[in-house]
């Protein structure tokens, strides 16, 4: 079974994990995503940048006291891409 039609940006464990989390919440901090996906900070950071470059999520960097704070939100574009991914997935599973 080939999965060529699945959005390659979403068809990766960590990015799909992040998108699924952000789908379900209003916004989430970096630490929350890191904990829930059980990933390393370095890798998560790289994958978040990729999603952000594609316009799937927005990343806001602020400060909580003196600590830097990264908050992520899914965009409309990201939500649409996620829905399309799930629909394609359904077709594969339905086969």
């Amino acid at each position: 079974m080939t999965l060529k039609d699945l959005d390659p940006l979403l068809h990766s464990q960590l990015r799909l994990g992040v998108m699924s989390l952000l789908m379900s919440v209003e916004s989430a901090e970096f630490t929350f995503l890191k904990e829930k996906t059980n990933s390393t900070a370095g890798n998560l950071s790289v994958q978040l940048d990729k999603l952000s470059e594609a316009g799937y999520i927005t990343i806001e960097k602020t400060f909580k006291g003196k600590k830097p704070l990264t908050t992520c939100k899914i965009t409309k574009h990201g939500l649409k891409a996620f829905e399309e991914y799930v629909n394609t997935l359904k077709q594969y599973i339905g086969k």
């Binding site: 999965l3 960590l14 209003e26």
Partner: protein, 197 residues
């Protein structure tokens, strides 16, 4: 089944079933993150009870000109709520849609209260019955959001006693309003606090 994310995530190929499992698992992880807070119920419960009882006692036993000034207690309570909410928000790493709904239902209720108090003389000062009846909705909804039945019952108490209030003389309204707040806010509030521990 949950696919471990510790492996090489970039090159790890997912099959459709793994993708679906991953999505389901992550959505499950994000669920159930609704903030619980008994703080507001206890703070506002005591504030409104003291204000109502204060007005009742002042009317019953003194000839103070404006006993309703007891309700200015709500101003410091509002400030304390604001400070608490800001501090609390700083410790949260995630905000769910339900948190947002929860927050805005109560802010909306607060706006309604201010409008009703401001329009008091146009509604024959039936402020307490209006505020208590309206209080039923956010309390009940909070109960639904938190899946916490005592708060849903609290909402029902407000609907019931709020309706009763309309038929009482103004002076007695303060007494019954205090009772309804004790039953609708404080009792579920303390039970919620117990469940948070």
């Amino acid at each position: 089944m949950f696919v471990s994310l510790n492996t090489d995530m970039e090159n790890n190929t997912l099959n459709p079933h793994q993708s679906l499992d991953l999505i389901t698992s992550m959505i499950q992880q994000a669920k159930g993150n609704v903030r619980k807070s008994s703080f507001y119920f206890l703070l506002w419960g005591w504030t409104i009870i003291i204000a109502n009882l204060g007005v009742y006692l002042l009317i019953a036993f003194t000839d103070v000109k404006n006993p309703f000034l007891m309700f200015s207690l709500t101003i410091p309570a509002g400030i304390i709520s604001g400070i608490y909410a800001t501090r609390h928000a700083k410790t949260e790493t995630v905000t769910t849609h339900l948190d947002q709904i929860h927050k805005w239902v109560w802010i909306g209720y607060g706006i309604n209260c201010v409008l009703i108090i401001a329009a008091g003389r146009f509604i024959s000062w039936m402020v307490n019955p209006m505020i208590i009846t309206m209080c039923a909705l956010p309390t009940f909804i909070t109960g639904v959001i938190l899946k916490f039945r005592p708060l849903m019952l609290g909402g029902i108490v407000f609907w019931t006693l709020g309706t009763v209030l309309f038929f009482l003389p103004i002076k007695e309204q303060f007494l019954v309003a205090a009772v309804s707040i004790a039953l609708g806010y404080l009792v579920p509030g303390y039970m919620l606090r117990k469940s948070e521990k």
